[in-house]
C-alpha cells in the first residue's frame, strides 16, 4: 500500500496524506487460525502510539486483523460485529466466516467513492473448519491459506512463503508468524513495538501480546 500520497493543493503546493503503516498477518492452521498485527501507530515521522491494537474480535469464533487508518478499522469492525450478532439471533446459528467477510466487503464497497482506508484479514472457525479472507480497500474478498497486508507485507510474506506448510498446528504457526513480524519490523519503519496475536481454535478466541 502507498504510505505517502502526494497531491497539489489549490495554491499548487505539495500536500501529504499520511497513512499509518502496519504489518498484519493471517495464517490458516490445522486446528485454527492465527491473526497477528504489530502495535505501532505512526503519523508521518511521528510514532503516535506504541500500544495501538489492530486485531479485533467479531464473534467468539471470528476475528479480523487490519492495516491502514485505525479509526476506519475500528468503525468497520464494530459494524460487522453488529451484523454478525443480528445474523446469529435471526438464523439461530453463528455467522460463517465467509459471510462475515462478505458483510465487510459490502460495507467497504458501499463506500467506493469515499473509502474506508483499511486492508483487512478476516479469519475464524466455523462448520467448514478454519479459513481466512483478505479484503482490500474497496472490498474484494480473496480466500487464502496465509496472507500479509500493510507496509511490512512485502517482507513478512517472504518469511511466511518460505516457512508455511499445510496442516501446521497453531503452536507451530505462531512461531512462524512471530518470525515474519520480527523480520518486517526490523526493516519497515512504520511497524514495530510488539505483536498482538488473535488465536482462534474450536475452543474459542485467545488474545496474546508479545514484545520483541
Amino acid at each position: 500500500m502507498e504510505t505517502e500520497e502526494q497531491d497539489l493543493n489549490e495554491q499548487g503546493q505539495p500536500q501529504h496524506f499520511w497513512i499509518p503503516g502496519a504489518t498484519t498477518l493471517g495464517v490458516v492452521c490445522s486446528d485454527g487460525v492465527i491473526l497477528a498485527s504489530e502495535k505501532r501507530v505512526s503519523y508521518g515521522y511521528m510514532v503516535m502510539s506504541r500500544v495501538g491494537k489492530k486485531v479485533f474480535t467479531i464473534t467468539d469464533r471470528i476475528g479480523a486483523a487490519c492495516a491502514g487508518m485505525v479509526s476506519d478499522m475500528q468503525i468497520l469492525v464494530r459494524e460487522v460485529e453488529a451484523y454478525a450478532n443480528l445474523f446469529r439471533l435471526d438464523a439461530g446459528r453463528p455467522i460463517p466466516v465467509k459471510s462475515a467477510a462478505k458483510v465487510m466487503s459490502n460495507l467497504l464497497f458501499s463506500r467506493r467513492l469515499f473509502p474506508y482506508i483499511t486492508q483487512t484479514i478476516v479469519g475464524g472457525m466455523d462448520d467448514e473448519g478454519a479459513s481466512i479472507y483478505v479484503l482490500d480497500v474497496l472490498g474484494s474478498v480473496i480466500p487464502d491459506k496465509f496472507a500479509a497486508v500493510g507496509s511490512g507485507a512485502e517482507i513478512a510474506v517472504g518469511v511466511l512463503e518460505e516457512g508455511y506448510k499445510e496442516n501446521m498446528t497453531v503452536k507451530e504457526a505462531k512461531e512462524l508468524v512471530f518470525r515474519a513480524v520480527k523480520s518486517a519490523v526490523s526493516r519497515d519503519i512504520m511497524s514495530g513495538d510488539g505483536v498482538d496475536f488473535l488465536t482462534i481454535t474450536k475452543d474459542g478466541i485467545q488474545e496474546e501480546s508479545r514484545k520483541f
Binding site: D90, R93, K98, K102, V103, N106
Partner: protein, 245 residues
C-alpha cells in the same frame, strides 16, 4: 351482551379486537386457506417434497402451467394455498429476500429465515389500518445448512416447523395418512410416493379427477425439481398396484 360476541361490529376493521379477544378478519382469512385445494410438505434426511392439488377449470388449460408450487431459490420451494393472487405477491418478496441474502452473506437463505420474513409481512397486514390480511398459507421446503426443513405460515403471520404437514380442505384426511405412514428414515423416493398417495387419495375420496403436482429438492443436489406428469403417473400406478386399501 351475550357471552359469545357475535361477529358484526368487530369484523369491519381488522385492527379491532372483539371483546373475547379475537380478530375476526384474520380468522376469516384462515377460513379461505382451510377451504383451498390441499398442499403438503414432507421432510426426510434425503431431501424435501412439496405437493399440491391443482383444480382444473377447463380441459383447454395448459397442463404444464403451475400456480401452487413455486421455485423461490435453487434450494428452496414453496407450496401455497388460499388466494393465488395474494400468494404471488409473497412469493415475489420471498425471491427477493433469498437473492438479497446471497448478496449480503454469500450464502443461500435458511428455510426458517425466509418463512420468518414472509410471516413478518403477513403480520403487518393484521395490524395496519385500511388493509386486509393475506388469505394465504405457505409451506416452505428447503435444504439448507441446517438440513432438510419444512415450515408453514398462516395468514396471522405465525409459523411452525414440521416433519410433514398438510394445509387445505383435505387437511384431516391427508394428515391422517401422514401420521400413519411418516417415518424419520423415509427415503426421498418413499417420501414422493407418500406425497402422491396423500393427494390422490384425498381427491378420490371427494370423487374428483386428481391433478397432482410434486416438487422435490434432494439433499444431494440441493436443486429444485418439478416432477413431470409422467413421473407422477408412475408413482400413482405404483401404489395402486401394491394393493393398498
Amino acid at each position: 351482551m351475550s357471552i359469545f360476541a357475535a361477529p358484526g361490529a368487530y369484523d369491519r376493521a381488522i385492527t379491532v379486537f372483539s371483546p373475547d379477544g379475537r380478530l375476526f378478519q384474520v380468522e376469516y382469512a384462515l377460513e379461505t386457506v382451510n377451504r383451498g385445494a390441499t398442499i403438503l410438505g414432507i421432510a426426510c434426511s434425503e431431501g424435501v417434497v412439496l405437493g399440491a392439488e391443482e383444480k382444473i377449470e377447463t380441459k383447454l388449460q395448459d397442463p404444464n402451467f403451475t400456480w401452487k408450487l413455486y421455485e423461490v431459490d435453487d434450494h428452496l420451494g414453496a407450496a401455497v394455498v388460499g388466494l393465488g393472487s395474494d400468494a404471488r405477491i409473497l412469493i415475489d418478496q420471498a425471491r427477493i429476500y433469498s437473492q438479497s441474502n446471497r448478496l449480503m452473506y454469500d450464502e443461500a437463505i435458511d428455510t426458517e429465515t425466509i418463512t420468518k420474513r414472509i410471516g413478518d409481512i403477513k403480520q403487518l397486514y393484521t395490524q395496519h389500518a385500511g388493509v386486509r390480511p393475506f388469505g394465504v398459507s405457505i409451506i416452505f421446503g428447503g435444504v439448507d445448512k441446517t438440513g432438510s426443513r419444512i415450515f408453514s405460515t398462516d395468514p396471522s403471520g405465525s409459523y411452525r416447523g414440521y416433519k410433514a404437514v398438510a394445509v387445505g380442505i383435505d387437511r384431516e384426511t391427508v394428515e391422517g395418512i401422514l401420521k400413519e405412514e411418516y417415518r424419520e428414515d423415509l427415503s426421498l423416493d418413499e417420501a414422493i410416493k407418500l406425497a402422491v398417495k396423500c393427494l390422490t387419495k384425498s381427491l378420490e375420496a371427494r370423487g374428483e379427477q386428481p391433478r397432482v403436482k410434486i416438487v422435490v429438492i434432494p439433499s444431494e443436489t440441493k436443486k429444485f425439481r418439478m416432477l413431470s406428469e409422467k413421473e407422477i403417473e408412475d408413482y400413482q400406478r405404483g401404489f395402486e398396484g401394491s394393493g393398498a386399501p
